[in-house]
Symmetry: C3
Subunit: 655 residues, 3 copies
């Protein structure tokens, strides 16, 4: 388990580099990521390269024993390139306006000119540093797809989409018309050149059309990214290649596909900025206790997802060290939280945590974003916590290959998100919130959770949960049967064909082989009009999304609606939850189920979380006051103790 | 009283048609509407027609004795036509962006190319099926003007508007400048070719300019529609022609003009979807009891308006049979509500109720919209209720020509809506909500209500209510005087000239002949800053819109503001309400007035509604529990009884 | 102290002019402003002038002894001019859409065509009326920059911005790149022709780029305006030149620069419309008492700012006389408020108050805006209050040159507003609200307040308050030291360089010479997540913006956060407030400080305000009930008495 930092030598006078490198080493940092926004300094104008400064910067870092992670600078094409090829600029799909130069990510994944130029600069840099002894690995681009850049409404995007459709539907436009149901509103095409992007129409466009466009856009990102990975691999043998992902729901890309050719996934972890946005409608009394910590399950939700995408350990490439600049409100972390988040990353499968950034930059867009050092070169609040990490990491005997071993898996994937974003049906359905609610309930019980795709091996698991899985391959059903897992399916699951049509046998479609129920009707209701949900003799809440179930003989009723109709049904080892619920129901429901499945659950104090990785169990106290962990967690404490201080961490080798 | 259904043979394999037709007949359906979105199947490319499939579909229906309502398919021009004439696409008036192909209604009423092509396809279809023995009637286009398509910001719209202005102002631009008051901000035009659409300006455009643009846009819709009606009449002798209207406030068209050449008006009735949107700011505790029924006065409000537009009975062309897909939240109807809404439509003057749609379609935009059958061809929840309708209709001896006989009329019209939308003055004034509040108060008293235009004969009425009538023709005042009705005028009435200027004698302008008051000033206040309104010794609320009145001698004060000044004034048989009020005031006010006017009012249980049509009185219980109707309603019950079950209907021939 | 009115002879039949003029005289009005929207009547088409009507209008007014204020009509270029030079139209920076003809202010300050044409018409009018004996002064344009017209996204604006950058950075693009920190995201330019406007980019543009664009846009407005002032001065010797400003925060222009060449500043005072918008999120129970008066400090806030901009007395060019038409809600003023606002303007340094408008106009955009007369020529509510003003002014012996003498100054300026708008950091920071909160606290203590720029002489003051001053010239620090004032600095102050970078020594930067503290970190928090602030043994609130302070030895802690850390620090006679606070804290804090500084403060009844101008002290009761002023305010009452009726005014020469 290692530490690193993000560094921008081009932002600082060369006279500061030497001291920076020395201090990094002293702070216990091993990795330094550089270069991802430096195109205008590397190629100052068309074809004129300037590498000497970068050579010297790497040299300076290397001299202190630091390992460099080099980036391709393609997230920020310089002005001269934009002026040469204006079709690089993407087009806003909500307005049709060109999105101009002046910030970052101003490129269209469908621009052939940009594709060629991006690969050219990647090649030039990979050629120069690919075999550099101090460049140990590579990061592609930067936070690909952020700022809603996966989708573009440009002419080049339209032409590429037409070609994609031609390929996808084997040059048979009738196949496309049928697959999409274009007859519905006389939307039939006679040839592929007629196909429009599903944007800026009079009213809602065809959901199948939208889904195809999302798949196309995702494929464009993956194609761009894969080509870059290939270039790096060609010129940088035996170096790792990774990418710093934003939260997976925000990429609008199939992250499993995007991560496929990477050595591992990296994640940029900003718990406070993200919490401010994710929980912005949360009442103050609920939000305030977490405003400087993030929700106890929020960071680990991203960590577990990052681990899941490539089914192996991951890195945190950017770890928030203090207040950021881009959320609606940007609080400072409570003292101790930078350490807590770092340990939590390791506990959930990180092999390295890099802090963003070394020093707060005094100019431009992110000047209010904290660093480990302040812009006057003094040490910021995070400094001492990184020092503590350095010292604590040295004290504990880790094995880097230690896995997180989960008996519970949550099935996720781009299709589920896309289908539910395209087909709102009720404004209050939010795929991410549903998934998070299920995840948080499991985590509160102390259960480790893997995120898996429908293609994943299910045999390691006792419990597989699909909070929302509208499109289901038959193979997934087969695997569930073979793996003998208990499967819990949330509402909407199995309801759609691969082309976003209704399944012909009613929902849950192919899942009916596991749980013979039929969804007779689906309704959505206002979030403030919840109704009673009966379970285990107690009252909970049915909310927002409610399905009417017909049960085959032998199917058991687990929970019922206010009117006595079944809300949760079960057949053998498959359960179908036909409604969204309050969080407390999920907690009680999974407590009951885990007990039955002989999964070890814990009764944890509120805001304490526990996870096991390898031989160690990690304990985290998100509360602002001391708490004592339950007696099951006794053993040899290699860090801290069973009495956790506020915002504290402990590590125990269980007895 | 008859039943029908909307059917899309082109969405289903031909092998299913026969069984569909048979089941329709068995379900007691008599009418089947078809064809309104089938252009791409009828004319697969330019000039190549394909009618055989449609011939066979009609044949199949006819063989079961079903009557076909044929539609012109002009709501969905196919892609090849758009590509041939790109000026068909309308332009968004809020953004200036072209509204593209990919959904429906993607046409500009001012496109001469589209006008010609729409009339061509209408002619072709009318020629083919106009005299078909099983095609009993025609529907024009579909939900004309929905999705905000009356207004376009295109070049063709601008040119057509210039011509309209030239005609309207007799080719005299000074007449236009004077009428609009263009001198105000140097907005004077020197010729008609200079005239812009009143959109996308730096700040608010001239209200008179906006009103002219709305009148022009409405005229364009009517012109388009009238031409289509003429074509149908030419080729389809002795068939009825109707159109399926959306709620009248949403067309942005003068519906009285639009309906003029039709045999009758049809209405598309979606009480739950519309309620979700209309009442979206209603607190949950008020909304929740109605979330699966709609407000008790909401459907009838539309029914009475539909009857009023052409002053005769109407059809429901599309009746919601289950959850829809397009509102913010889409609950299922309570069991019994499809029947209740159907009976309520009949009770308020419908001659036929058609359900939308026969079977839930598995693909495209409306796949989550319920049908009478589910997409797996099983019978959905509404099926049994339609069966019940079939049986009940057979049991009661109706006369189709039975009228609804109302002694109360509400005056409505496009001008009133347009003026109040153009001139907000206070954000919380909403013409539809004001009108609905007046309507609901009258309905809660058991009073039948007609909606009439200012041109309507007033002699049938004892009470005429104009909740909002800013522009008043002198002829209307004359008619009020001659008819000796009691007239109640709401705030803003009589305040504007026909060109949306202030009337020279202060409001209520020409109404001063009936009630000699002067509006000295008008204020609008925040909806949360209501003040006391004194009436009949009790306290109510004055809200949002408040006018200061000066009363001539002999005018009586009926209600007063918190400061003692007059809020409601009366002179002989005309009353002027100078403020918006709470709903409960309107109830008390009309109770007092109706008593004085010897109108029979009822004291109904909450959520019970009553209306008389012909010899029968219809009773509806919108509550989820049984209620007993008052003893005045005793008589011969031909359906149900005086004890209404939850969501139940009864029909009584009063003693 | 004088009265006047805004009049539009072109809106009325010439036959009414004579009676209007006579009544104006009788009402005690001395000044009549005319002509600012009359371009289309003065130049009916290109080069064809029509002045006779205007000559006659002036003659009619002059014959009654009225003095005319003539305007340049450049706020409303006529249609023929727009058609001749389409590049006059500005472009919306949020959408890229051209903002069309049809309202007003449809011109781009960077259009060279418009600049030339605007100066041409100004010259023509100034030549004709510059020496007219009855034209005593001139108003330039009208409410320059309102409707967000300072910024344009047009091509002409881009070209002018590139030239501005070239000048500002001495033709050295590297100087610009360094100043802005363009290296940050490869945003470096190679030449000035590459520079884009900082709009419509993929995400946030460079703050320094945005600041430069705001400075450029402001300079364009000032350049346009100065050229017009020069023309008037050339042709209109010995006449005053003024401009009617909108609230200073809304111009997006450096008002100190804009006012520089004017004889005095005028202000358009609409307390109710502005209050409705400024306080729109205020709960009803707080807002309702002021909905017909405005907040007691709201008008005076604008008055004091208007006086401050040119450091001399000002005019109110437009005073709201009744309900307006443009706010979200438009209540009528309480009876007495038109008089109260008028007296309050005088008390805060106005030399003349003109009412807008003479008579309510029946047509076009502002037909719902009240006048002194109604559109039927009857006398509106304000008439009697103006009569009362006329009579009261005659009774009191004023000296027009009497100054407001304040011992307290608030430092303001465009840079502060721009920096905080560009760099939100927390959504709930609002520069104007912060400044108003400080102002209101001081006013509640009876303290007179000057608004000053950083260039202002500080020697008159005992207390200088900078609620928000991110960019601080060293000279200002020097002046503070020399003037020996007590300086109170709010959060964010001193934090930025002149190019919107972080100061190298941490905030408060150059202020550290006065108060040696360092801002170690800055956080923003949700407005509903306030925390405790300890001061003087009581608990207040720390809100929204919170800075972590490090204090040098000898710096005192004045108030502390919930965690005991310093929130307000003080060193000698400089105090640093590191957080936003509740209003009641500011009141207590300034009470303590003013007492220490021997400033006379008053304990006023709620909603009573007091200000001294010259020999008189003016008392205002904003409450709807009588209140008695404290005994310190005894003396010779020249108007009213110490017992103030509701909405009443009194004037006392203190004993």
């Amino acid at each position: 388990m290692m530490l690193g930092v993000c560094y921008y030598p081009e932002h600082w006078p060369e006279s500061m580099w030497q001291q920076d490198a020395q201090e990094m080493r002293q702070l216990g940092l091993q990795y330094v990521r550089i270069g991802e926004f430096a195109w205008s300094r590397i190629e100052t104008c068309d074809g004129e390269y300037s590498f000497e400064w970068l050579d010297r910067a790497i040299e300076t870092l290397a001299n202190e024993g630091l390992q460099v992670i080099m980036c391709t600078p393609t997230a920020t094409p310089p002005k001269w390139l934009i002026d040469k090829y204006p079709d690089i600029l993407p087009v806003d799909i909500k307005t049709g306006t060109t999105r101009g130069f002046g910030s970052r990510r101003h490129y269209d994944f469908s621009s052939e000119n940009y594709f060629r130029e991006a690969m050219r600069i990647s090649t030039v840099i990979a050629e120069r540093y690919g075999k550099h002894p101090s460049v140990c690995g590579w990061q592609t681009d930067n936070e690909i797809a952020c700022h809603d850049t996966t989708h573009s409404g440009s002419l080049v995007a339209k032409l590429a989409f037409q070609q994609w459709c031609k390929d996808y539907y084997q040059n048979d436009v009738e196949k496309l018309n049928t697959a999409w149901g274009n007859v519905f509103w006389s939307m039939e095409y006679q040839n592929f050149e007629q196909i429009e992007l599903p944007i800026l129409a009079v009213t809602e466009t065809n959901p199948a059309h939208q889904l195809a466009y999302r798949r196309f856009s995702s494929d464009q990102v993956v194609k761009f990214h894969d080509a870059m990975v290939d270039i790096i691999r060609t010129h940088a043998p035996n170096r790792f290649v990774t990418h710093n992902f934003i939260p997976l729901v925000d990429t609008q890309t199939d992250n499993f596909a995007l991560a496929k050719n990477l050595d591992f996934v990296s994640y940029d972890n900003y718990p406070l900025g993200r919490s401010d946005m994710f929980f912005k409608h949360m009442p103050a009394e609920q939000f305030k206790p977490y405003m400087r910590t993030g929700h106890p399950d929020f960071s680990s939700y991203s960590f577990d997802q990052s681990r899941g995408v490539s089914n192996k350990n991951f890195w945190v490439m950017e770890q928030q060290p203090g207040p950021v600049n881009w959320a609606h409100h940007n609080p400072r972390p409570e003292k101790g939280m930078v350490r807590l988040w770092s340990w939590q990353a390791f506990a959930h499968g990180a092999d390295c945590v890099c802090y963003f950034r070394w020093r707060q930059v005094p100019f431009a867009q992110e000047q209010m974003h904290a660093g480990i050092k302040r812009n006057d070169n003094s040490k910021a609040a995070a400094w001492a916590e990184v020092e503590q990490m350095r010292d604590e990491l040295a004290k504990v005997d880790f094995t880097i290959s230690d896995p997180v071993q989960a008996k519970v898996a949550i099935v996720t994937g781009a299709n589920s998100q896309w289908v539910t974003e395209i087909e709102r049906q009720g404004d209050s359905y939010n795929h991410q919130r549903v998934e998070f609610a299920y995840y948080s309930a499991l985590r509160q019980l102390g259960l480790a959770v893997d995120f898996v795709s429908v293609d994943h091996d299910l045999t390691p698991y006792a419990l597989v949960v699909a909070p929302c899985l509208p499109i289901v391959p038959q193979a997934f059903v087969d695997k569930c049967q073979q793996a003998k897992v208990h499967l819990v399916i949330g509402p909407r699951s199995g309801s759609k064909t691969d082309e976003l049509s209704l399944v012909p046998t009613l929902a849950p479609g192919v899942f009916q082989a596991l749980v013979p129920v039929r969804v007779l009707s689906t309704e959505t209701i206002r979030p403030d009009c919840s109704e009673v949900l009966h379970f285990n003799g107690a009252k909970f809440e049915s909310q927002c999304w409610r399905e009417e179930l017909e049960l085959a003989d032998g199917v058991n009723v687990v929970a019922t609606y206010h009117d006595g109709n079944p809300a949760v049904a079960r057949h053998q080892n498959t359960s179908y939850v036909a409604t969204l619920t309050c969080d407390i129901f999920l907690l009680e429901y999974f407590k009951t189920l885990a007990t039955e499945l002989d999964l070890t659950i814990l009764t944890l104090p509120k805001d304490v979380r526990v996870v096991q990785r390898g031989q160690y169990t990690y304990l985290f106290n998100y509360a602002g006051y001391p708490q004592t962990v339950p007696s099951e967690l006794q053993g040899q404490y290699v860090l801290g103790s069973a009495s956790l201080a506020a915002y504290d961490v402990a590590i125990v080798k269980l007895a």
